[in-house]
Symmetry: C2
Subunit: 208 residues, 2 copies
């Protein structure tokens, strides 16, 4: 009886963690998972290993993987990248994708800093990216912060923290089947090369 | 050889459709699924039945179901509603949830019509709901349209088209563990009772 109750609880924790990864839609640390599940980290870790094993044994579109030490995600298997490419809105240009890459790498970041990095075109890009659900804009006082959304993680499933700028930009660009000329290279020659001044708490009263 | 190729193609279509349902994150018609998969509807339907059967046989957090005739979704099983409740941002008030219910029922709808239905508090609610990724705001010329996001569907998995207002409002409110008093009942006594005048193409220059 005690044993079957333990099993039941263990099974339930495995699928609870599956539900958490699905709902959150982004890579989560073991601490975050345990917190959402309301259990100890060692129990969460054990259940995660079971869940990853379950998914590894099934030939489905999804997998649960440890992206890097202690960070887990439910994601599409690599072999569906061509499908992702096909389903990305066709009218999202290279310039907007580059802005998306900056937000993924450096976000959450103040809108003003994004404009410093990407030029004033960033306002339009963020508008497009918010409309398409790839970016979230959140107001803090008179400033706005931008960061990638859960949908970004579903589509791009990139281990952002382990990517350097060039790799991420390349990965995003490769998702486009045909690359139009870079619309904003002339305007922003130093794209992605100015990571030092991102910590300013700048205020941008003209936003929104 | 021909047979194993056919099997391979069939297996691949089943998981391609799984990938599409995961990426889109909202209920899709058979026509939309077939279009995304690039196959005929009868093939898509056959693969969907296989996929639903696969999920039905596994004891996991997710299921693939036909919500109503010809409309399919990948969603959390009902038994995870208490988890959803726990993970909804605690500071999202009843008034914002009511606005969310209106957007789910009547969206995509012009922002101006939402304000007619929910009062001027709707501006603040939409801002909060966009920040939390439950709502998308899209600009059309000088007007804005609002509609629920993929994340809304992951969290609320409600068959919006088959819900009437009262049911949906009740369902959203029941997701809150403890209901504070309705902050805006006095201001908007006719909430959700004016569905006739939603087709106006109103313009709202003050938006954003």
């Amino acid at each position: 009886m005690a044993n079957s109750q333990t099993d039941l609880r263990a099974n339930s924790l495995v699928s609870t963690i599956e539900a958490i990864l699905y709902l959150k839609g982004q890579p989560l640390s073991l601490a975050e998972i345990a917190d959402c599940a309301g259990c100890a980290r060692d129990l969460a870790h054990e259940a995660l290993l079971d869940l990853m094993n379950d998914y590894a044994q099934r030939d489905t579109a999804l997998e649960v993987v440890e992206l890097r030490k202690g960070c887990y995600t439910l994601q599409l298997r690599d072999r569906f990248q061509s499908l992702v490419e096909r389903l990305i809105p066709a009218d999202l240009g290279v310039a907007a994708l580059r802005t998306l890459a900056v937000i993924a790498l450096k976000g959450p970041l103040p809108m003003a800093d994004l404009v410093d990095l990407r030029g004033s075109g960033a306002y339009q890009h963020v508008q497009e990216l918010v409309e398409r659900d790839f970016v979230k804009k959140r107001r803090y006082g008179r400033s706005s912060m931008v960061q990638v959304s859960e949908k970004f993680h579903r589509y791009f499933q990139l281990d952002v923290e382990n990517q350097n700028s060039a790799q991420l930009e390349l990965a995003l660009n490769q998702l486009r089947s045909s690359l139009p000329p870079d619309e904003d290279a002339a305007e922003d020659p130093e794209d992605l090369e100015d990571p030092e001044d991102l910590d300013r708490d700048s205020v941008d009263p003209d936003l929104d």
